[in-house]
């Protein structure tokens, strides 16, 4: 293992989670406020990402809210990727392998969920 700041990876994971939460929190707050203002009580189910982005760009409340929820759901996955990269950089191969296994299992799970 490289002799690096032992807390560097802690800071990176902390920042990753914080960025994910900030982005999703802002989108959710804006989206919910807009939904209430626009009176969109029943939001549509977006099945296409481009449509979702287009509606979000038009500040449609339900689309901005959905984007916020997706950002929130991606945050833990991003955290696994950061740990995988961090342990690989530190040449801590044992735990890089553990993180890779978790990432692969998450991908399997998401693929099964999509079907």
């Amino acid at each position: 293992m490289r002799n690096t700041d032992p807390h560097r990876l802690d800071h990176w994971v902390h920042r990753t989670l914080l960025v994910g939460l900030t982005v999703s929190g802002v989108l959710l707050a804006v989206g919910l406020t807009t939904m209430l203002a626009q009176g969109h009580e029943h939001a549509p189910q977006y099945e296409s990402f481009p449509t979702l982005l287009r509606d979000a760009a038009r500040l449609r409340g339900s689309a901005v809210t959905t984007l916020g929820l997706l950002a929130l759901m991606m945050t833990p996955i991003l955290r696994v990727v950061v740990l995988l990269a961090g342990w690989a950089v530190e040449r801590d191969w044992r735990f890089a392998g553990v993180a890779l296994a978790v990432f692969v299992l998450l991908c399997v799970s998401l693929t099964l969920g999509a079907h």
Partner: protein, 288 residues
């Protein structure tokens, strides 16, 4: 459920309570949020479970962010256990159709009662249950047993540095597998199983057990969350209001957690387990 300003405020409050308790006890908060949504706000069960599983991600990410920075969450242990949790979640997803959730709820309610009693008593050997018991020894006293790769240490403002090793990892992996399995079925993060397992079986001090459990829960919940989203069960407005409440509550809970001792956390958790057991039994007996 319609998202009116009044409903949004109620959902924010429900999320806030969930976030505070989740941050202190190391759970995602699903066990609090689902009954609040169903019984108080009248949200249908499937949508409540979907809202809960997304809120669990918010609690986990918010609390883990603080605990990782403070060094309380054990990331190496958490990631190792996440392999078993993810496998359990996949197995749960594949077998959900052939299992009777009601029978599972009765079974786990019966398991939770003795676990609650053990949590109330706390660990006697090594006294890891309270930071006071665990860490009144100076840090150097634990250094005689050099920590294993999965062991850890953190600073508790009340008592100083706490160091620990991880015991009975296979048992911890088995419980993590079951927790992952239940997460998708019941819409909870599985912290009610992970925290006692980490503390009572693996010898992790209760504060580190709660922080590590919370660190893991986000990943446990993600797979199920996408599944619920794909099935159209996540209601954006309802979930957004609950998540915003959870984020605020988690921030408050993380601050409160600094002034709460390990024994108090252990006993609060025991009460939570009994409430969850009662809730599971009631739901199973009523056939809901």
């Amino acid at each position: 459920m319609e998202v009116t300003p009044v409903n949004a405020l109620l959902l924010l409050a429900a999320g806030g309570v969930t976030g505070v308790l989740g941050a202190i006890l190391g759970t995602g908060g699903g066990v609090f949020l689902i009954p609040l949504l169903v019984m108080v706000l009248g949200v249908p069960m499937h949508e409540a479970v979907a809202t809960s599983i997304v809120s669990v991600i918010a609690t986990s990410s918010a609390v883990a962010s603080t605990n990782v920075e403070r060094g309380i969450a054990n990331m190496r242990l958490g990631m190792t256990l996440e392999i078993a949790t993810a496998l359990g979640a996949i197995a749960g997803g594949l077998t959900a159709a052939v299992l009777a959730p009601r029978s599972l709820e009765v079974l786990f309610a019966l398991v939770l009662v003795p676990t609650a009693l053990l949590m109330w008593r706390g660990r006697t050997e090594k006294s890891a249950d309270s930071a006071a018991d665990d860490a009144t020894k100076p840090a150097t006293s634990s250094s005689s047993n050099s920590p294993s790769p999965l062991g850890g240490s953190y600073f508790d403002p009340a008592v100083g540095r706490v160091s620990y090793n991880v015991e009975r990892l296979p048992a911890g992996l088995a419980v993590a597998f079951v927790a992952g399995n239940l997460s998708g079925l019941l819409g909870i993060g599985g912290g009610v199983f992970k925290v006692p397992a980490l503390h009572l079986l693996c010898g992790v001090p209760v504060k580190a057990a709660a922080a590590t459990s919370n660190f893991m829960i986000g990943v446990t919940a993600v797979a199920s969350a996408f599944l619920y989203y794909g099935n159209g069960m996540v209601m954006p407005g309802v979930t957004a209001a609950a998540v915003l409440g959870v984020l605020a509550g988690s921030a408050l809970g993380s601050v409160l957690n600094r002034s709460i001792g390990g024994r108090a956390v252990s006993r609060l958790f025991a009460v939570l387990l009994l409430l969850v057991a009662a809730q599971m039994l009631a739901r199973a007996l009523q056939g809901k």
